[in-house]
């Protein structure tokens, strides 16, 4: 490379020499666990209260497959355009770790649920196809808690409530070219799984990712333990910068497994001695072969909802909105549904697209609020009311945003907020009075304007806006000022 790279990889930079593959583990929203009847809703439970002999690995316990988990897995596979296999099998993956009570994890190996799929993503360079190598089912291990960080803790605490929760593992080919693309991909996966209703990305730890990264001239590095959406991009950027640094100094990049430290944002070598063959995979003798008939797959296929890509196409056609808006509106299925209800009620689909995709989404991002949470405070009918007041000229655009913000923060009816904050647009006489006040208080600026300095008028508009606290359109203030000054006030 002739040019030195900067210290950190710039966001979104397309890196031709970078290859990233991901293994995404997503928790499936079944009621019970994958192999036993314990509740899978462990998030707010007391430790070790959703456990039984099977998920604690007690002798003599017999796992039995949850049919719903298999069906969810098939739905995921279909949504990712995979070939669902006719026969699939569970294996034991043997290793010792405190989160695995049996000394092995029940997973899949040679006969996964599905293979050979793909996902479309919108990257900087336009649409890209990311190939999916395989989709399989496995059980989640228990949850380990360390006092302090992992390297200073003296021991770990184990909660097996999570042990046996169904996971779907989605493995990509190394088709991703930058940390940003990896983030876009993972968001797309989240979006698809949520559309299917089999996953809740808002639950802590519901999606965990292992990544493998290689850059031209180096071997493949695996990064484990990435457990947040933001962490993925950060971990990959760190790792690529680290690898480039090694190459620049002429140090060979050897294949290894590294651990991502979320708090410090760095990857640490694990010096693991275990390789794939050391897991001694063998068919789980307690679970029989699963045969998936054509008719079973067809029935599940018929039940698939409209997925993000189809929704984008339909939105563009039906509502005549831009692709950017359609994509922004369909990422989250709750936002898509909200938009459709608002557009149906108000009728002005393009105005609604701007207000949902740009304004509302921006406000939600700012608050880290999900659409589902926002629905409690801003039901579609109230959102429509705000837009209607604005369209009828009763409130300004700026006031409309203010009402929305107030509703997101504290809830309430739009009419009440408008009255309380005195946001009703001003009457002509009122405007007239305020403009005359501003002219009287700012004679030097008025003189400047009269002598040809056009900028002086912008200053006066600012003064009017200040006095009216945004209840007036700047454009209207501008016109009124011009008219009154011209009339020789």
């Amino acid at each position: 490379m002739s040019q030195e790279k900067t210290n950190t990889e710039r966001e979104g930079e397309h890196m031709g020499d970078v290859k990233i593959g991901l293994e995404c583990h997503a928790q499936l929203l079944t009621r019970s666990k994958l192999f036993c009847g314990c509740s899978a809703a462990y998030h707010y439970a007391e430790p070790n209260t959703h456990v039984c002999p099977t998920c604690l690995g007690l002798p003599g316990a017999l796992p039995v497959v949850n049919k719903k988990a298999v069906e969810y897995g098939i739905k995921v596979a279909l949504a990712l355009n995979c070939e669902v296999q006719r026969r699939t099998l569970f294996y034991r993956k043997n290793y010792f770790y405190p989160d695995l009570p049996r000394g092995f994890q029940i997973s899949q190996y040679d006969f996964p649920l599905a293979v050979n799929g793909y996902v479309r993503i919108e990257s900087d360079g336009g649409e890209r196809i990311i190939r999916i190598k395989r989709v399989h089912l496995e059980e989640d291990p228990g949850r380990l808690i360390y006092k302090g960080t992992i390297d200073v803790a003296k021991y770990c605490l184990v909660d097996y409530n999570r042990s046996g929760v169904p996971l779907v593992e989605i493995v990509t080919e190394p088709d991703l070219r930058s940390p940003k693309e990896a983030r876009i991909f993972i968001n797309k996966i989240r979006s698809i799984l949520e559309y299917l209703g089999v996953f809740d990305g808002g639950l802590e730890g519901s999606l965990r990712v292992d990544a493998n990264v290689s850059i031209a001239g180096g071997e493949r590095i695996e990064i484990k333990n990435i457990s947040s959406y933001k962490g993925l991009e950060r971990a990959l950027s760190f790792e690529i910068t680290r690898q480039r640094g090694l190459l620049r100094r002429g140090i060979e990049i050897k294949q290894e497994t590294r651990h991502y430290d979320e708090i410090r944002g760095v990857t640490i070598s694990l010096r693991t001695k275990e390789h794939e063959e050391d897991y001694r995979y063998f068919p789980e003798p307690d679970l029989v072969l699963i045969e998936i008939s054509e008719s079973w797959v067809e029935a599940l296929k018929k039940g698939l909802p409209e997925l993000p890509d189809e929704k984008v196409r339909r939105f563009m056609q039906q509502y005549v909105i831009t692709r950017e808006h359609a994509v922004a509106l369909t990422t989250d299925v709750h936002i898509a549904d909200f938009y459709e209800r608002v557009a149906a009620e108000l009728g002005d689909a393009r105005l609604c697209a701007t207000w949902v995709a740009d304004v509302l989404k921006g406000e939600l991002n700012y608050r880290s609020m999900s659409m589902r949470e926002a629905l409690q405070r801003v039901p579609p009918e109230n959102f429509v009311k705000i837009l209607r007041f604005m369209k009828e000229g009763k409130i300004t655009e700026r006031s409309a945003v203010e009402v929305l913000r107030e509703m997101l923060d504290a809830g309430g009816e739009p009419e009440v907020i408008i009255a309380k904050k005195e946001l009703m647009r001003m009457k002509d006489e009122e405007i007239d009075g305020i403009i005359r006040e501003v002219i009287a208080e700012n004679t030097p600026a008025v003189e400047d304007y009269k002598s040809g300095k056009k900028e002086a008028l912008n200053f006066l508009v600012g003064q009017v806006m200040k006095k009216t606290r945004g209840r007036m359109d700047p454009k209207r203030a501008y016109e009124a000022l011009k008219a009154i000054i011209a009339a020789g006030a």
């Binding site: 009847g37 497959v65 405190p98 040679d110 803790a153 097996y160 001694r280 029989v288 699963i290």
Partner: protein, 125 residues
């Protein structure tokens, strides 16, 4: 995997004797020898510490076991479907219903160490 067009397990195309997926390295003469490093690696994987005397003993014992198994290589299995289970039952499922779990006290009953309802385990990096 439709019918016989199954995706082959990664190892099925190879032949010979493998230990944990790696081809067995023949050491000295024609006999199948288990090397000392392999014994040590196995003992690490199983988390069972072996004395030098035990390593020596297992080296020869495991080598002869491998030798017995190598007889199986002579069988012609070209037309035989891989057998994962000897019973012909398929699709044993349960419905997605929540059943009663163990009380916490019962779950922790056999735990050598515990703290605030958690099992207490070693720190592992």
């Amino acid at each position: 995997m439709g019918g016989s067009g199954a995706r082959e397990p990664p190892d099925s195309s190879r032949s010979g004797v493998f230990i944990w997926g790696k081809p067995l390295v023949l050491t000295g003469g024609s006999s199948l020898m288990m090397r000392r490093e392999e014994i040590e690696h196995l003992s690490w994987l199983a988390r069972i510490e072996l004395t030098e005397a035990e390593k020596e003993k297992f080296e020869s014992q495991l080598s002869s076991i491998l030798e017995f198994f190598s007889i199986l290589d002579e069988a012609d299995v070209d037309d035989v479907e891989p057998t994962h289970h000897v019973i012909g039952i398929t699709n044993v499922f349960r419905g997605d219903e929540v059943e009663r779990s163990l009380p916490q006290e019962e779950a922790l009953r056999n735990a050598p160490k515990r703290e605030n309802g958690y099992f207490k385990g070693p720190r592992i990096l």
